[in-house]
Symmetry: C2
Subunit: 470 residues, 2 copies
């Protein structure tokens, strides 16, 4: 492409922005290819007869927007845009908004119609009666103390987690903020992070934005491949290992008790911190009692436990909690303070009341019944797909199925085809951090936000698309 | 000190933590001095006969907790702990909690008893009636659209800000989160940031945690020293300039219209982004009409406008907004999504209703009356201090006075003395990012959270302490 062809317009935007837009368009139009080097700042400023700062600012803007990458001492190169992946992720389909006539197997959030709005409203009003203005005053950065105590009691009873005390509990504005804080406290540019491959893209994005390098470990039917994990720990010396031990997203795998113990042994041997991200362990529909890695970390030394309330309660609450190893607690609280001072006092207080009045437990049982029904229904519907060579496991809990297509079929193509027919689901490419021979073979089907009729209709669409291809 | 003297205990914590605690104690006890180099990992592991990973992990732990600093290729050095400053900042006095018998001139938050709890509660209940579960569903990362529109209307009317449209408005969980997002989007390690000196410590901390280098610019009676600012821009080529243009914290200075224009000329000339942090411009008690830099940025190209609702409404809401220049909007929304997905939907919707039903404007007038009364009362009380050589300006708005002590008196000593007597205020050392000849000469007195009687009592204490020393 010819950057030099730009015609600056005096009365419009600043020159550097005009230049930025011009180069950006060349990149998105494919005139500038990934890996291609941009002209040096000096040469371009001479060619265009403009100030070199203008060129530099345009380049920095491109860098900030990830269109180019700066290589120290070498110059600016066009980035390798993850085109399709980015476009799926930014389309708002993943759990957020879809049109009315679209069946949504992508979203992991329950439909707003089954939120416990009434009972939570009662809690809000009771809190406002009781605390008045104090519910809106500045809060402790680590969280409303009675809530920290409620949560500690709940997870102690539910999971037998006895590590840590109230001081080690940190209330966060949702699990995503917890991941962000972990990145800030533990990661510096160049540090390594080991994650399951495939994994939750939103966590990987945060770690990478801290300049960390993500390394994947394969997932077996009872958790991460331990031999591979140890090998990679030895090679990379990671700053942290991020795992989802119950109904892993997206593979739906749960760790066996044995695997959890092996993971902790590795954590101790190599003195590395493990993040256990737990958003669904309560949603067990079979006989499996929820087990967590945190329970084994009896000294509260190695495992950062991160719990979301979005899947069981309501995602828009923006409330989650963490149990932080003792030696890191102070630093986490400070970084939470730097990030947003504290989470909403009103929401924290209402959530505390929700726990204390037994409403959480009641709602959990209600949600489990609803989800179990949808789980079982989707499972029977999946049997129809077996004749096309589709494979799947029975997770026994959680909110998803992870299905593998027969050889020769592309998950990305199937995604596009289903979408045309009015069904959105998530192709496996979104979840793979690294190359993998089966990267484009699976789909994640969530039953969280659809009702029984919608599930049936969605499965009809899937079958129709499979039928066309197989 | 002798690190080698450590006795490991097998049955206790992991070794690296025991080593971390041991060295930490040596640093806090002053046995290891700032700037002192720690033994190399290899030599210490040999001396203690332990694995080098254990030593490395202990050192990294020390680094994470800011006790030591790693210098590339050189080793680990004991950090320069800002002892007293840290202890004041972490004591929770700055706006959070103080004991019952303490007069609080430190906090910048209104007392919870005057929060509009009832009228906000009405908005919450109306929103829950209207939107039900959708108030608790996932929200757009950029914020609830009707709220973005309300805010744009409000600041358009109040400040004549016409730049940008709804797409450029980003709702954040309080201004502190806005600062955090700015750091994430714009700053890489080694980048320069220019801030007023003195300035808001909580912003400087965020920028520094991104690895940025902070450079101060002096504050004159009508805003930053423009000659000095341009000189520093030339030398440092900063990624951003952070300014508070109305009732600057802590100096209470407001920028003249002329200075604002000069600042924007510099932004254009050097193509640098300005952050305008505005938390108090509405609180004008005199004839000054609030003016902002953002109003001048008609192309929405150079100024990131950041507005807090904490001072006028309630700090615990955790709601603020930003107007982002067009070329940065997409990146900010993405980083907001990575940070916490979105801000609380319920709070956003209730705040929108608060604006739309005219309650905000009503409450603003009420708060202005209350604050004006306290401002004027504190001003008359300050006259008493003149006989001790205390100097101060009349800011004409905002929530603070910034008083300068006579030569020979230390603000830090005065802080400690007042504290003994039951009055907390903030010594200037907390706000100075860099050395300055008058760094320990001033105190910030806030009248936000005290009533008239408390102001009188606090000023009595200040006078008593001055009387003792002058």
């Amino acid at each position: 492409m010819n950057i030099v062809s730009i015609q600056f317009q005096d009365d419009k935007q600043p020159k550097y922005l005009q230049l930025f837009e011009h180069i950006k368009q060349s990149i998105t139009a494919g005139e500038l290819k990934p890996g291609e080097k941009l002209p040096t700042v000096r040469s371009l400023s001479q060619a265009l007869d403009i100030n070199s700062i203008t060129v530099l600012n345009a380049y920095k803007q491109l860098e900030n927007n990830k269109y180019v990458t700066a290589k120290k001492g070498s110059g600016y190169y066009v980035s390798n845009m993850k085109g399709q992946k980015e476009s799926i992720l930014s389309s708002g389909e993943l759990g957020m908004t879809t049109g009315k006539d679209v069946i949504n197997f992508a979203s992991a959030a329950p439909h707003p119609s089954i939120f416990p709005t009434e009972s939570f409203k009662e809690c809000i009003n009771e809190v406002l009666e009781r605390d008045r203005g104090f519910a809106f005053g500045y809060q402790e950065s680590s969280g409303f103390k009675p809530l920290r105590s409620s949560i500690l009691g709940y997870i102690g009873e539910k999971y037998g987690i006895k590590a840590g005390n109230e001081e080690n509990v940190l209330i966060v504005s949702g699990a995503q903020q917890g991941i962000d804080l972990i990145g800030k406290v533990l990661l510096n540019p160049g540090d390594y992070v080991i994650m399951e491959n495939p994994t939750y893209d939103g966590a990987a994005a945060v770690f990478k934005s801290r300049g960390a390098r993500v390394v994947g470990v394969s997932v077996e039917e009872d958790g991460a491949d331990i031999t591979e994990l140890e090998k990679k720990i030895r090679i990379c010396r990671p700053k942290l290992i991020y795992l989802m031990t119950s109904y892993q997203n997206p593979t739906t795998v749960s760790y066996s008790a044995e695997k959890l113990e092996q993971v902790l042994v590795l954590a101790k041997k190599y003195e590395v911190c493990i993040v256990e991200d737990d958003s669904m362990s309560e949603l067990n529909f079979g006989n499996r009692h929820p087990i967590t890695l945190k329970r084994l970390d009896i000294d509260n030394s190695y495992v950062i436990y991160l719990k979301s309330f979005s899947k069981i309660l309501m995602p828009g609450l923006r409330a989650g909690c963490m149990i932080i190893p003792g030696q890191l607690t102070k630093e986490f609280t400070k970084i939470k303070h730097n990030s947003d001072l504290a989470s909403s006092g009103l929401i924290q207080r209402a959530l505390d009341m929700y726990f204390r009045t037994g409403k959480w437990e009641e709602h959990l049982q209600y949600m489990k019944e609803i989800y179990r029904g949808k789980y079982e229904f989707m499972l029977t519907q999946l049997e129809r797909m077996e004749k096309y060579g589709v494979k799947y496991e029975k997770p026994g809990g959680g909110l998803y199925f992870w299905i593998t297509l027969p050889k020769g079929l592309s998950a990305m193509e199937m995604y596009h085809e289903c979408r045309e027919e009015g069904l959105v689901l998530i192709p496996s490419g979104v979840f793979f951090e690294l190359d993998h021979k089966n990267k484009d073979r699976s789909l994640r089907l969530s039953f969280a936000s659809s009702n029984i009729e919608e599930i049936r209709h969605g499965m009809d669409i899937l079958e129709k698309c499979l039928d066309r291809r197989v």
